[in-house]
Structure formats: C-alpha cells, structure tokens
C-alpha cells in the first residue's frame, strides 16, 4: 500500500488537523470530529456526514451557501450518533436542521439515532436520504440505491434555499426534489485501498474495468474489457436515461474518484456533453472534478440532474466553501 500518511490509525485525525490549518474560516473540532460554521439565528441549518475517504465531501462543502456542519466518520464508516448530535446542536439556529444522508444502512441508522437525540433536545430535524445511483438496479431486493454524486447537488441547492431563509419543510422539499431529479452511474479502472486494510477492495486485470461501482470500494455490477471514454459515457448515460427520461436542461457532474487526473475527466465530460446534445438535451450547468471520491480509486461517476428554473437559480447562488466557490 502506497499512501502519504503517517499510520492508518491516525489518518483521520491527521487529515482533519491539516484541514483545520488550511481553512481557518471554519471551526474544526479534531477530537470530536466535527467541522462547523456559525449558524444564522432564525435560519435553517444543514448538517451532513458520512464515512471519510470521499474528500472533499463533506467537510469541503461547509461554508456560506452550503453546509453548516460536517461530521466525518472513520474511513468508509458512518459517523456515530453522538458526533452527529454534537454537530447538529452546534449549528442549530432555531429554525430546524436538515440532515443530508446518503443511503447506506450505517449512515441512515446513525443519523436516525442522532435525530432522536435532537428531538429530545427540542431541535426540529428533517432528513433527506440521497439515493441517486442507478447502478443499483433492483432496489426492492437491496438496501436501496446508494447516495453518490447527487449529494453535492443536494447540499449546494438546499444550502442556497436555507441561505434564502426558506423554512425547514421547504428546504427539505427542495432537497428531496433535487435527489428525485438526479441519477448517477460510476465506473472504476482500479479499486481504492482502505488504509487500515492495506489491499485494494477488488482487483482488476490491466485490461479490465468495473461498471456500476459505488464509492466504498465495493465491486460493481459487472466487469468488462477496458473501454474508450466514449463508450463509458454512453454506457453510463444509457443506464441513467433508462431510469429517468432525459430532456430539457440538465446539470452534469463528471466526478473523479480520487486517483483520476483532471485531464481525463474533461475527456469524459466532452463525451457526456456530446451524447446528451445529440439527443437534444442541453447541458446548462456543469461541474468537472473530484467531489465525491473513494480514496485512491481510479475512475469516475457521471451525475445528471434535470433542471428547473428555480433549481438553476439556487445552483447559481453564491457559495463559499473549500471545495465549491462562486458568485459574488
């Protein structure tokens, strides 16, 4: 295993220490593992979290216009209820807190327990479960679709709604709408390695790739010969379009899995755009880069969200976080 770390056991603490030093505008409690910013009294706050290893998700999205708090768990392990509750309490502004939760059993259960704790303290909680991954085909016989790239879109857009002063129910509704209008599909060329394990989650031959991967090093739906960017884009978009008819204006996220160079992501984005525009779908907004990663996995995921005018305006609203920044 080759990694720029001290020891697997100190990885999360070390990374949070670095994150704190790099982003002095945020409050980082390294011991309790929560990253927060001051809430605005009377406004809804957003808390998200999940296992580490997906950086910049979630701590990189804390800041004006997006999240108020993030609680990173151990690598690929959901945070614990007490930690989530501490984050929730720290950023509660009195108008309720939205929990943005990716649909993994561990995340769902731990956030549910944290919501109970918040309820005990009289903090109103709404929860949005993100489950955009169409690679999980049969969601009635599984834990349900995984939450992947759409998480960034939910956090950005719901964050903008909260910034606009919307009530908790409205912010939650918008978050739910973003998730409902988004679909993702991912591929890997090489699996990531959990530092404490030391070997890759799965092994591919030099001429193989994995289709339909998640973001936790789990293998995907099927293995195949390595394909050109054009075919990968088509395969992913076919799966997405089979699940949600694509039309009108869309937002596209081409997301790197952590070990993929930006140049290749632009190649993928060119192919995704060409595929969509050839079918009369307009790519009105886009994001290309590493946003929801899986340690050092090589590969990418493609997320498509069908836009509305309101969602586009909320997307365009100013945001100022370590990993996402625009507007003035």
């Amino acid at each position: 295993m080759k990694k720029l770390i001290n020891t697997p056991g100190t990885l999360l603490t070390d990374a949070l220490t670095g994150f704190a030093a790099a982003h002095p505008a945020l409050d980082v409690d390294v011991r309790r593992r929560i990253v927060t910013r001051a809430p605005t009294p009377g406004r809804v706050s957003l808390v998200s979290g999940g296992g580490s290893g997906h950086e910049p998700l979630h701590a990189g999205f804390v800041g004006p216009g997006m999240l108020h708090a993030a609680c990173p768990g151990e690598v690929f392990t959901s945070p614990v209820p007490g930690q989530i509750h501490a984050a929730t309490t720290a950023v509660s502004g009195g108008a309720g807190v939205l929990h943005v939760v990716k649909n993994y059993t561990g995340d769902v259960l731990n956030f549910a327990l944290a919501a109970e704790l918040a309820d005990d303290d009289g903090i109103e909680i709404a929860t949005v479960i993100v489950d955009d991954d169409v690679a999980v085909e049969d969601s009635t016989h599984t834990a349900g679709r995984r939450g992947t790239g759409a998480t960034v879109l939910v956090e950005k857009i719901a964050g903008a709604a909260a910034e606009n002063g919307e009530k908790l129910a409205v912010v939650a509704e918008i978050a739910t709408e973003v998730n409902a209008r988004s679909r993702s599909y991912g591929v890997a060329l090489r699996a990531g390695t959990v530092p404490a394990v030391g070997t890759p989650g799965f092994t591919l031959a030099e001429d193989e790739m994995e289709w339909g991967i998640g973001i936790h090093g789990e293998p995907g739906r099927r293995r195949g010969p390595i394909a050109p960017a054009r075919d990968i884009a088509a395969g992913a978009l076919d799966a997405i379009a089979a699940d949600m008819p694509l039309e009108g204006e869309v937002l596209v996220l081409v997301n790197g899995m952590g070990g993929t160079p930006l140049m290749e992501l632009y190649v993928m984005f060119a192919e995704v755009t060409a595929w969509l525009e050839a079918r009369g779908v307009r790519v009105a907004r886009s994001l290309v880069g590493d946003y929801v990663t899986s340690l050092d996995m090589t590969g990418c995921s493609i997320t498509v969200m069908r836009l509305t005018g309101t969602l586009r305006d909320l997307w365009d609203a100013p945001v100022e976080t370590p990993a996402l920044r625009w507007g003035r």
């Binding site: 296992g51 768990g73 151990e74 690598v75 690929f76 392990t77 959901s78 945070p79 614990v80 209820p81 007490g82 993994y104 059993t105 561990g106 259960l109 731990n110 549910a112 327990l113 690679a135 999980v136 085909e137 049969d138 016989h141 599984t142 834990a143 995984r146 959990v194 404490a196 394990v197 070997t199 989650g201 998640g214 936790h216 090093g217 789990e218 293998p219 739906r221």
Partner: protein, 195 residues
C-alpha cells in the same frame, strides 16, 4: 444463571474474540462490503470493554449497547448496540436472571435488530446467525454451534440488506461478515455459560 459479573465476562470474551478475528472479519467485508467490519467492531468492543460496567446484567448490557452505538459507526454499530440495549430493557434491573429470562432478553434484542434493520432470515445478514442462536439458547441447545451454522449458511445466500446487497448474485459464495461476528458473540456467550 447470569449475573453482572458473568454478563461482563461474556462481553470481555467477545471483545477478545472480535479482536483476534478482526482481520478475518475485515477480509470478509472486503469481499462483499467496504472492508471495515473488523475495524468497526474492534473499535466498538474496545469501548465496550472500557465502559460496560454495572451492578446488574441489564445495566452491563445497556452500557455495552450505548458504548457500541457511540463508538462503532457503520451499520453494525447501531444494530449490535440496539441488540444489547433491547436485551437490557427486557432484563430490567434484576441482579440475577435464569437462562429462560436471559433467553427472552436475547430474543428481544434480536427483535430490536430486525425492527431497526428490516432484515429477515435469509437476507444474508447478522440476523442469519443471531436468530438460530437465540432459538437454540432458548431451547437449551448449543447456541454457539447454531450461530456458526447460521453463519456458514449465509455463504450460499444472495444478500438483500446492507452493502453486500449491491452485489446481487455476486454476493453468493461469501460468508456475511456480520453473521461471522454474531457467531463470535455466541461463541463468547457459550464460553461463559457452559462451565
């Protein structure tokens, strides 16, 4: 008969077994999950060892459940945490309980896991080891063997809950990590009750 000391002995034996088999549990989870089950439970049971104290079996199990929920994370933390907390609730504050009462408490724990996680037997989860073990314990049979059989039976199952479910039929041929850890828990329980 279970008292606080023996309950605690169960948990420390379990912690030792989890610790000794942590790499194996993680390897199982690497095959069909995300490769952290052994790491999670080792962390969780370290907290159990440190915090699960009390004057009654119920108090010990409640502290154990809270420690697991606080320290483990993942799916297994809340599930095992709930198992112990529900069992604790069923035991109330009795300083000593006989095996029949303890068996009922284990059944309550199992019910808690199933309510929270929604898994039935055959879904290839910890439930597939817990359920036969709880039944065997109630019947005075070999709960450890029942759990181990339940664990082994997961190998041929298709996962329908947890991360392994994403693999669909590709999960066949692998033992479920949670079923393997559940078997360790009952191995530990039998090591302190059969003497």
């Amino acid at each position: 008969m279970m008292d606080a000391a023996r309950t605690r002995a169960w948990l420390t034996a379990a912690a030792r077994l989890i610790n000794a088999n942590s790499g194996h549990l993680t390897a199982l989870d690497t095959a069909i999950g995300d490769g952290d089950h052994g790491l999670n439970l080792r962390r969780g049971f370290e907290a159990v060892t440190a915090e699960a104290t009390g004057d009654t079996p119920g108090a010990v199990l409640k502290a154990a459940g809270n420690a697991l929920i606080d320290a483990t994370g993942g799916a297994s933390g809340p599930l095992y945490g709930t198992f112990f907390r529900r069992a604790a609730k069923a035991l109330g504050d009795a300083p000593e309980v006989d095996d029949a009462v303890f068996a009922q408490a284990l059944a309550a724990g199992l019910a808690g896991v199933q309510t929270l996680g929604g898994a039935a037997e055959g879904d290839k989860t910890m439930v597939d080891a817990l359920a036969p073990a709880v039944t065997a314990f109630a019947a005075g049979g070999d709960a450890a063997a029942a759990a181990a059989n339940g664990r082994d039976a997961t190998e041929s199952m298709t996962a329908r809950k947890g991360r392994a479910s994403y693999l669909g039929e590709r999960s066949i041929g692998h033992i479920d990590p949670g079923a393997a850890s559940a078997a360790l828990l009952f191995q530990a329980l039998c090591s302190v009750t059969t003497d």
